[in-house]
């Protein structure tokens, strides 16, 4: 950045290996988090909170989960939607079966349920990898969705087959159900994402994250230096599914309000995968940037013709959106295959030397 680390001497290992070793970074990030908590609820209108920012946070959490699995541990998964569905249905069952249960606790428990399912579907990863593993996780995706469609117990025998978020409070504030304000939903989602990101950041710089990266980069070498592939890969599947499960629960409770299995179909899995790849594989920041890109660009594309004063037919506009979106994906991959996080890193390097690059 424009500031430098000159004069900040590290005298302990702890300070050298901190998440943000530079004081200015800590300050900027802390300010950004506080701003994220305070500014949007005060400034943004309902449309922005409910239709843009909340999905952005929910998708960020899911992308973060997938990034731990695909970006850090190197296991390609197309079952994200299925794991999110597990989280959503588990949260629904928990919240309706135990009405007095704190909803945050229900989210975490449903994350644990998703983690258990993720562990089961992670077992094939011990023998196969790459695209083959992707197909194996597709089995999870289709099987889980089918299961939730077929067994009426999951939807409490509702004839419509939909799950609806019941009204629940956190510290006396309504956060889910039809009467919850978008502000309360937004703050809840943000708090969960912030904690999730902090945990993820610490996971990936510690022993667990390093063993994931060792497995990703060269599994045989990793095994030789004593990383156990079985435990490491299954742990990655479990933790990744935990994040996805919590995100799935949030998707229904904080964003959609009510949902069918359709909300968790294969296109959701791909959407999350796009976010991870466009944002940057193996980067916590990248998950957020990718989610922002995928959520904001279509909104921008939808509104761009209006801003330019053009009135296009709806169908044509939809098709233009698809074309521009696809074109942008290819363009970004050509310009920077390592994603938006890498672009940001390059920008930081440049700024660090600016204005005297030599």
């Amino acid at each position: 950045m424009i500031y430098r680390e000159a004069g900040q001497f590290k005298t302990t290992y702890a300070s050298d290996q901190a998440v943000f070793p530079i004081v200015q970074d800590r300050v900027v990030v802390a300010l950004a988090v506080v701003a994220a908590f305070v500014v949007p609820p005060l400034v943004a209108d309902e449309y922005w909170l409910q239709a843009v920012l909340i999905p952005l946070l929910v998708y960020s959490l899911a992308a973060l989960g997938l990034n731990l699995l695909t970006g850090y541990a190197g296991q390609l998964s197309l079952g994200t939607g299925g794991f999110m569905a597990v989280g959503a249905y588990a949260a629904f069952k928990l919240a309706t079966a135990f009405p007095q249960l704190n909803i945050i606790l229900a989210f975490l428990l449903s994350g644990a349920a998703a983690a258990a399912i993720g562990l089961v579907f992670g077992i094939p990863s011990l023998r196969i990898k790459g695209f083959y593993l992707a197909v194996a996780t597709l089995a999870a995706q289709f099987f889980l969705i089918w299961l939730f469609n077929k067994v009426p117990w999951f939807v409490n025998y509702a004839s419509s087959g939909t799950i609806t978020a019941p009204p629940r409070t956190v510290f006396g504030v309504m956060v889910s159900g039809p009467t919850a304000t978008p502000q309360a939903r937004y703050v809840t989602a943000l708090a969960l994402v912030a904690v999730g990101a902090l945990v993820a950041k610490n996971l990936v710089r510690g022993r667990v994250g390093r063993s994931w990266m060792a497995i990703r980069d060269r599994d045989i070498a990793a095994e030789i230096i004593g990383v156990r592939p079985l435990r490491t890969k299954l742990l990655a599947f479990g933790i990744s599914s935990f994040y996805c499960g919590v995100a799935g629960a949030e998707l229904v409770f904080l964003y959609l309000g009510s949902a069918e299995t359709l909300a968790f179909d294969i296109s959701l899995s791909f959407l999350i995968l796009f976010m991870v790849i466009i944002g940057g594989l193996g980067s916590v920041l990248g998950s957020f940037l990718g989610a922002a890109f995928i959520v904001l660009v279509p909104i921008l594309l939808t509104n761009a013709p209006h801003l330019a004063g053009l009135a296009l037919p709806v169908a044509l506009q939809k098709q233009m959106e698809l074309m521009v979106f696809g074109g942008l994906i290819i363009f970004f991959l050509i310009v920077e295959p390592n994603g938006l996080a890498r672009l940001w890193q390059i920008a930081k390097e440049k700024l660090r030397l600016w204005p005297f690059p030599h």
């Binding site: 196969i128 197909v135 969705i145 089918w146 592939p229 991959l333 050509i334």
Partner: protein
Amino acid sequence: MSEILYGVLVAPFRDMAGSPAFLAEVVLGGVFAGLLYSLVALGFVLIFKASGVFNFAQGVMVLFAALTLVGLLERGLPVVVALVLTALVMVALAFAIERAVLRPLVNQEHIILFMATIGLNFFLEGFGEMVWGANVKKLDVGIPDRTFVMAGIQVNQLELFAAVTAAVLVAVLAVFFHGTRIGRALRAVADDHEAALSIGIPLKTIWVIVWSVAGIVAMVAGIMWGAKSGVQFSLSLIALKALPVLILGGFTSVPGAIAGGLIVGVGEKLGEVYWGPLVGGAIENWFAYVVALAFLLVRPQGLFGEKIIERV
């Protein structure tokens, strides 16, 4: 417990033996669906063999080819002219893809190229619908679609036609791959890009050829599928069904794609009809994947695939 075992292990086979004609019809339906999966999987295999790219856009290429053909037919062109023009469009598309997507991404990791084909997927979907419209269309290229009874079994002419076409296509591809100069070059590229380059095989030309052939295979698949259920967006989703087919047959094998397609097609029809009712039906959606998953654990390279999988 014994009831469940009876339902799983005995009753389906008793039903099968009870009415062989019905069984034959179910199998035939499965064969037809399987052939269509095979045709899509074939496009994947061709591109994967020659460039190591897992082409996610194959399904949309099927849709795009079918849309183009229907669009040209609607403008009153004769069938033959429309077919040739569509083939030319697919070749032009191959050129464009090589120039705009593959060449700038040479030497990138597979996942990046895979992502790029997903981008291509979106682009082609939007482009195809913008040019030719998004309505469901009827594709009629003069293939008869009547049902006749042969040896007590109902046979559909369209299905018969599809089977013959697929067989011819595979034969032509086999000759092309093994008997011609270009085919040998293709196999060389598939084996080792760098070695092929060093003995003077033009990689770019090979890529264009492979993508063109995959485009034409996509066109054939589009014609068959379009004649059966109309040209619509759901065509592009059969790309996902082709994945278990690839797993079963092996990513690098043309005969494997056909065999895998048939196994998946017949297997899911049989499973749906005879075992589906036990669990409430609609198992067609995931049956193929679970079969593929089980298969992977036993034989990761597929039925005919080369053993290139790195074992962990």
